[in-house]
Symmetry: C2
Subunit: 407 residues, 2 copies
């Protein structure tokens, strides 16, 4: 991820037609938290037609329930104007900058939940539960598209101790200096310390905000927001002007988990939101790591509980070398520490992922470009398919490359 | 373990004849560190005949090599006199007070190593490596025989931090107040804090010393030795007057691990002797537990490494409730967290253990007295056999009782 010019984002929005952007802006406001029926409708019809259907009310009961309160809103144009005034851009799944690679696992989880729900084996997925966002509001000179290939979410308590902030800043500094993108929120405590660490290494970081990007929250962190925007990216699911409500912090956490190759919890009290991020990471099949601390410190209780878990325990981290193996996709990877609970078969795979999987040799390890050649698919598709295949346990990653899992 | 009178040990030595006691005193000095060939000779011939054979030099090359330097020593009588002057008693495997239950795992490991060595699959076991002691010098009003049924070794660095000493004292207090016997060394730091914690709860503790019990080491801990002796037991493998050499600390550590139902490491630097105790505990098939601490503290490095181990990782402990399930034999037990590396079959079992194993019902859980009835063996034999069976993974322990492992 790198800034690629003085004003690199000019015209970026234009890769998608203005009508669709208006529709996306409308949709980004109409259903909150993210709603599975709305997500499925948009995937089926596209932004424009989905927005029209919702506005007209000509939709299923489930979509209507999720959108009734706001379906007549006419804020889209004003939102886009406010965004432009504040150097904020809107990106959708059709934009070049959409983080397909990072979000592939979230799509896979949503697909699996839908399949299980339709098969009657499970209650309807909760709203907001790892449902992919419809659009994202971004700000900053960095590019979000490659985030997740080599990144780490660094999360923890707002009311962190001096110890926790020291460790967060130190690890984030080390990660950033090894070209790992640091992903965190914009709060006091561990979030702020992680960004400070990444900035001090001259690295890039991604700050995911619960509210609108024109309203840095807490306001004391305004400088952190602006410094991060210089080389990194600010991300929000909510349009400009949105206040950071509690529910928005929760759904924000799923984006942090999805954008990190791994999630590292530095300090967390017993009911910290950071544990919620850790759960999302687990559900996405991503490694969860935790920093231990004094057993006499309430701020380390959550971390210790994560390490003590019987199922998918967090990896105990004492320093950078414990984190790095989990941040890369290839090169210094190792097999994922945790796998999602319900592993099914190939049925949920899209055509591209199936082709990529079929391209794997029986025993040897291969690189992304090998796979493009072997599967006859563009590298971009290979890159997007790999996290899903990995998340489903169908392939593994090692120092030598990607490898078909033995079944 | 409880003191059972004002001068409860009077005549205890007399349960073994004086000649054998002299032989045991001689043997306790003649081979150091513990030697497997000497141990086997004593088991084969008994104390008296083994001592005579060694003194005469009419033994195998291996026994001679282990005993040559000291076989002509004539200190036994003086050692026993010095012991009597200092209220120290000598116990052997024939004494009522011998901790059969705690040492059964050590016997099982020694037997397995001998079997593997004789079968040619392995080099001769190292001297001192978990070879059972021939005799022990004890002091204090407590009784050692039942130790290991419900006990915990609490170990760690001499150069502990205030945090480590606080946690050690706190956990030892909690353990002692739940009738768990605390086992530790007599050093500064974690050892001393653990004993202080146990004493402050009015509990009993076992202090295992590397040198003679008439020479408390370090001398600053003299009060700790005398306070421990009031209700607990001081233990040493070495006769009165022995200096606490480095090698004696290492072999002392195996006794600490053997006397604890579990071994808890509170603080340990990277090369701490406490890690050596943890390894002994693992080799005995006993659970190893470790207290995390700040990753910025060198004194917690060893603990974090134990928790990070891929094979048989230590259980992360944040408080008493994490330790208690591993200290009991029955009642609040759970399956052992770690199992010994090489699990063979029944071949290594003695007749009693085989009978006890045969007494197990196929599916249901049973108590010690059920087993005595079912196997037709005295409860004492059942108690001695259970740790071996458990250590070999042939049975498991749960809240309901002992249960045959599914094979």
């Amino acid at each position: 991820m790198a800034a690629d010019g003085a004003s690199p984002r000019d015209g970026r929005m234009n890769t998608v037609d203005p009508e669709s952007m208006l529709a996306a802006a409308y949709l980004s406001r109409v259903a909150e938290p993210a709603s599975l029926p709305v997500f499925l409708l948009v995937r089926q019809l596209g932004y424009l037609a989905a927005a029209e259907a919702i506005r007209s009310g000509d939709v299923t009961t489930e979509v209507r329930q999720a959108t009734e309160a706001r379906r007549t809103n006419t804020d889209a144009e004003a939102d886009l104007e406010a965004a432009e005034r504040n150097d904020i851009r809107l990106v959708t799944a059709l934009s070049d900058e959409w983080p397909h690679y990072a979000f592939a696992s979230m799509h896979a989880v949503a697909d699996r939940r839908v399949a299980e729900w339709l098969a009657g084996g499970r209650k309807r997925p909760d709203r907001g539960e790892l449902i992919p966002p419809l659009a994202l509001w971004l700000k900053g000179n960095g590019d979000l598209s490659g985030v997740g290939v080599r990144s780490a979410a660094v999360v923890g308590s707002r009311a962190a101790t001096a110890y926790g902030e020291h460790v967060a800043a130190d690890l984030a500094y080390g990660l950033a200096s090894r070209d790992v993108t640091v992903v965190s929120g914009g709060a006091h405590g561990i979030d702020a310390a992680a960004h400070r660490g990444a900035l001090s290494a001259g690295g890039t970081s991604v700050l995911v905000s619960a509210g609108g990007l024109d309203r840095p929250y807490p306001s004391a962190n305004e400088l952190l927001y602006s410094r991060t925007a210089e080389s990194g990216v600010l991300v929000s699911e909510r349009p400009p002007g949105s206040a950071p409500h509690r529910q928005r912090f929760l759904s924000r956490n799923r984006l942090i988990a999805a954008l990190g190759s791994a999630t590292l919890v530095v300090e967390a009290a017993q009911r910290s939101g950071a544990l919620n991020s850790a759960r999302y990471a687990r559900d996405l099949g991503r490694p969860v790591l935790a920093v231990p601390g004094p057993v006499t410190s309430a701020m380390s209780t959550g971390c210790h509980q994560l390490i003590q878990r019987e199922e998918n325990p967090a990896v105990l981290v004492t320093g950078l070398s414990d984190v790095l193996p989990y941040c890369g996709s290839l090169g210094e990877g190792r097999e994922l520490a945790c796998k999602p609970a319900a592993l099914n078969d190939y049925d949920g795979l899209d055509e591209a992922a199936r082709a990529v999987l079929d391209g794997f040799p029986a025993h040897s390890a291969v690189t992304e470009s090998d796979l493009a050649r072997l599967s006859g698919r563009p590298v971009q598709e290979v890159l997007v398919s790999l996290p899903t295949l990995r998340q489903l346990g169908l392939i593994s990653v090692s120092r030598e490359g990607y490898r078909r899992s033995l079944s």
